[in-house]
Symmetry: C2
Subunit: 255 residues, 2 copies
């Protein structure tokens, strides 16, 4: 049903964290039933790396992966900085992003922390390398499922699609097939929100998302006519994010 | 255990909402197993009333109560505005606040929406009328429990205590007795956060809160020596909040 609002599991420790300047959400997931208490961060921001590490330390977690849903244009990723402060952490991104990282993911792959896993689903549109990370299927995985959509699906919106030359009708079909076919109570956790919303569900977005409830031609026409300004941060953020946010340090080189 | 991070219940629909300018959290709770889908808001902000009503409408909820944890000094409450936009909504606050409202609460009282209830716990300190709302005890109530602490307990902090002439050692004992005696996995949902944290637990704050992990004499000395600036909004916010945020409208008069 659409009634429960939060994923629960005896083994998942979950936190959503906010970076105010770029309105970015960072997600912390850990398997606290595993003796190592392994953890991962999704979409960390350079400016909040110290906050994130303090929390990870206080909660007694071991950070294994620093992952991105895509090459962000609005903030610098914290993955490179995390690696310099906690050697052993691996940066992770989709192969299709073209970015540097320690571990590259392809559609359908799984990323494990302890017994909890994330499934990788290709959801290009905002960028060609955008992926959505979805928690696993089955009774031993968090219920309801959680989808970390990056900018592919935002709460009552979606990321702009004018950065790369993508076929918008295909992007729309992929978002629809990869996200809106999940159970209706799947929690949508986006990379950003500008109005103070934190979470939604697949059912809610299928009913109330003003862009994604349209047919694919209308979607294309909406997205092609947004006439958005050139993003402030893009010329700094994209080159930095292509190399984990650190251009100078040897630790940002891929293994 | 300290493992689960979110309260879950087949009947509770829960959302945390953020108002960026004052870094205020508003909470929406509803019993969606009840045919009316009755809902309440805790600490609504005047500026985000339209957002909150849009969400309540999209989720098919019936707003019954607009509650405050205390008379805020940093933002104007949305309770009065909610009442003018949705007649039938009742404003709720502690009797000890001295504020106008439709319904006054005393320590130990319960507030029901459908089968879900909140318990009122007096936690003066930040103001004399501060209360914490705690979800009910028992298997039919959300698990783990949730404590909406206002400014009594913040994540890794607590609200300033220099507004009213309170005995700080007593405040400290009350916070301790009323909040830190709850199960360790009880979720702490504060009225504010300035660093991007959204939730904590009783166990976590008992271990890591830099003010509340001290003895009561150290607490008194920390709180007496903060030398904080006079709050920007206080001369506007407090008089407005004493009358539900609306000074002119007849609907802001108590029943
Ligand atoms: Fe982005
Ligand atoms: Fe306050």
């Amino acid at each position: 049903g659409s009634s429960s609002s939060f994923s629960s599991s005896s083994k998942l420790l979950f936190r959503q964290l906010f970076e105010k300047e770029s309105s970015t959400y960072t997600y912390l997931l850990a398997d606290v039933s595993h003796p190592d208490r392994p953890a991962l961060l999704i979409d960390p921001v350079d400016k909040t790396v110290d906050r994130d590490l303090k929390l990870i330390n206080e909660l007694g977690l071991k950070l294994v992966y620093a992952m991105n849903t895509h090459v962000h244009a609005d903030h610098v990723t914290g993955t490179g900085l995390l690696k310099t402060k906690l050697p052993g952490v691996k940066s992770v991104i989709s192969k299709a992003s073209g970015s540097k990282a320690d571990k590259f993911l392809e559609h359908g792959e799984k990323v494990y922390i302890g017994d909890i896993y994330l499934e990788v689903r290709a959801t290009p549109g905002h960028t060609a390398g955008c992926v959505t990370y979805v928690t696993g299927e089955g009774a031993d995985q968090p219920q309801p499922r959680m989808a970390f959509t990056g900018d592919a699906v935002l709460i009552r919106g979606c990321g702009r699609t004018d950065f790369q030359n993508l076929v918008l009708k295909i992007a729309f079909v992929l978002i629809f097939n990869q996200i809106f076919t999940l159970p209706k109570d799947t929690l949508i956790y986006p990379a950003h929100d500008y109005k103070g919303y934190e979470v939604s569900t697949v059912g809610e977005e299928m009913q109330h998302n003003p862009r994604l409830t349209k047919d694919k031609d209308t979607f294309k026409s909406i997205m092609s006519n947004l006439n958005l300004a050139y993003p402030k941060m893009i010329d700094v953020a994209v080159p930095a994010n292509m190399v984990c946010g650190l251009q100078d340090l040897p630790s940002s080189q891929p293994n």
